[in-house]
């Protein structure tokens, strides 16, 4: 199934990838090629087959309700672009 420019723009927006028109064009071409190959999936006979929800064994699904030490604030915010009084600063939300 081909993917058109609107779909690419929509998906890029959902993923917060700032694409310019040339990028959108290129992505539409490349993704179309890939999706065509992926469409092989449609030929699979999956009647009555459950989707895989868990690979391997159940693992350790839960933990006990115990408190563990948190990171000191300097380490928690170590890479932060911008901070103020221990808070993470982000630009104006639009």
């Amino acid at each position: 199934m081909p993917i058109d420019r609107d779909a690419v723009r929509h998906v890029a927006e959902l993923a917060r990838l700032g694409l310019d028109p040339a990028d959108v064009e290129r992505a539409a071409e490349q993704l179309t090629v890939i999706l065509r190959a992926v469409d092989e999936l449609q030929a699979a006979d999956i009647a009555g087959i459950d989707p895989t929800l868990q690979v391997g064994d159940p693992g350790t699904p839960t933990r006990s309700d115990t408190v563990e030490p948190s990171l000191p604030v300097e380490r928690a915010l170590a890479g932060t672009l911008s901070q103020e009084a221990g808070l993470i600063r982000v630009a104006q939300i639009q």
Partner: protein, 499 residues
């Protein structure tokens, strides 16, 4: 169309023509020790910003979530109390969207296999018993807190505190079975009380540990279709919930009457304007791209385990009130007042269990003690007054060995000091004197001391008795049993025959 608050007096006419259809979504922070998917503290109150985080709740690259078993337990317990079905298979899903208070760029929540499905909540509205259906109860993680430097829409930046990110949040979704704003309020009151009884939430709406959003639409009375829905968010008190819904009824009715279109939108409450206001829609019809979280294995609950959790559901408020009424002959209001909070109901039952008569205990707890709690800003637990201590005092009152007035004074003193009021009675010799022989001496002395009062009383002036009673009380330093004193005085002061 004016943006000001629409008048409440228009509510009647609006409701005559239009029927509200209301459903509430309640988010309750669970009372676990640690967060939903990591070991940071769940109780973040008062902590300096970003001091309660770890790689997992910060959403650092490489960090992984592991589900808190106690949070699952508390959610299932809630479902049991709401008569929900507890499916044996459940899972966590990722809800994907970008917002600064959501560090991973997705929220771990539950989509199509929630922990609890269906159920109902019983509640009372204006004396009438109602039940509203529950759609589902599911478990998710809370986001961080966002502070705006200035308003959202104009300039400035935003500041993020992730202390709250990852706190376990239980979402209780109600079917749109509520038909008036008053009903909605009663539903929320009952739900909050239930959560307190279950020990899963602290009921604090001001601080945001319990949050309520409402969905409301109107339809013509007699219709059974559904109108265009408005979501009203962040209603953080019962009063605001009711008022916001009333304003919405008026707003929507006005538009419908004027045949203006209604948009499906999200609104918030403005205290300043006394009405709901449109909020900038987050993202038009956000596609959350839910999919099962591959970091969290699906949950398989065993029926035996579910039964152990069901057994944790305590006697619920309505059942408890009913039992107290029947066991102790309390009135409907008394029983309801005493069972409003589970700890206070426990307290009452211990007072009665320690020997105090139920009627007396009820009256004193609902009046005197409630008043003391309010005046001293202390809860019953923090007062230091044990149920056994109260019971002893109330027995003395009931046997008239201590006057009501004295008892009230002693209570006030004991409240917060840890003193035992019954002991104070003994220590200070405050026992009421009811012994007639002893009192007779004082009564006769009083009559002698106040001949005019005696004469006035005999002549028919009832109020003159007070002076004589006062005299006796003074002589007994307040410990005379006022009723006995009055009786003895009256016996010695027969009324003069009319001339």
């Amino acid at each position: 169309m004016s943006e000001g608050a629409l008048r409440a007096s228009d509510l009647g006419p609006a409701l005559a023509r239009w029927e509200p259809v209301i459903g509430l979504e309640v988010h309750a922070q669970l009372l676990t020790r640690s967060k939903m998917f990591c070991g940071c503290r769940a109780d973040y109150a008062g902590l300096p910003p970003n001091t309660n985080t770890c790689p997992t709740c910060l959403g650092l690259p490489g960090a992984l979530p592991v589900a808190n078993a106690e949070a699952i337990r508390q959610t299932v317990r809630t479902g049991c109390a709401l008569q929900s079905r507890i499916p044996l298979h459940s899972k966590f899903d990722r809800k994907n969207y970008f917002y600064p208070d959501l560090p991973k760029g997705y929220q771990i929540s539950q989509y199509d296999l929630p922990l609890c499905v269906g159920g109902w909540l019983e509640f009372e509205v204006a004396g009438v018993e109602r039940a509203a259906r529950i759609t589902r109860v599911h478990l998710e993680e809370d986001a961080g807190k966002l502070f705006h430097g200035g308003e959202i829409h104009h300039g400035g930046s935003s500041l993020v505190d992730l202390n709250r990110a990852g706190v376990p949040l239980m979402e209780i979704v109600g079917e749109p079975d509520l038909r008036t704003p008053q009903e909605a309020r009663a539903y929320l009151v009952a739900l909050r009380q239930l959560l307190l009884y279950l020990g899963v939430n602290d009921g604090n709406m001001e601080e945001g540990s319990l949050r309520c959003d409402a969905n409301i639409s109107l339809r013509p009375r007699g219709d059974d279709g559904l109108g265009v829905r408005t979501e009203v968010k962040n209603l953080n008190s019962f009063r605001i919930l009711q008022r916001a819904l009333e304003q919405e009824v008026l707003r929507q009715a006005a538009r419908l009457e004027a045949q203006l279109p209604l948009r499906q939108e999200t609104r918030g409450w403005s205290e300043a304007e006394g009405t709901t206001v449109a909020q900038r829609s987050k993202e038009a019809a956000d596609d959350y791209r839910y999919f099962p979280d591959p970091d969290l294995p699906p949950l398989t609950l065993s029926p035996a385990w579910v039964e152990t959790v069901r057994a944790e559901v305590p006697e619920l408020p309505r059942a408890r009130a009913l039992r107290l009424r029947q066991a102790h002959g309390l009135s409907h209001e008394e029983a309801r007042g005493l069972t409003e909070r589970p700890r206070e109901a426990d307290y009452f039952e211990r007072v009665v269990g320690a020997g105090a008569p139920a009627a007396v205990a009820a009256a004193w707890q609902l009046n005197e003690l409630a008043g003391l709690c309010q005046r001293t800003h202390r809860s019953l637990e923090a007062s230091g007054l044990t149920p056994e201590q109260l019971a002893r005092l109330l027995v003395l009152v009931d046997c008239r060995e201590v006057s009501g007035a004295t008892a009230k004074e002693l209570l006030a003193e004991a409240f917060g000091s840890g003193a035992d009021p019954a002991e104070l009675v003994e220590a200070r010799g405050l026992r009421q004197v009811s012994d007639e022989a002893a009192l007779t001496v004082h009564v006769e002395a009083a009559i002698e001391a106040q001949p005019k009062a005696a004469q006035d009383y005999r002549a028919g002036n009832d109020r003159a008795l007070a002076a004589l009673v006062g005299q006796v009380m003074g002589a007994t330093r307040g410990r005379g049993d006022a009723r006995v004193v009055s009786r003895l005085l009256r016996e010695r002061l027969p009324r003069d025959p009319p001339s």
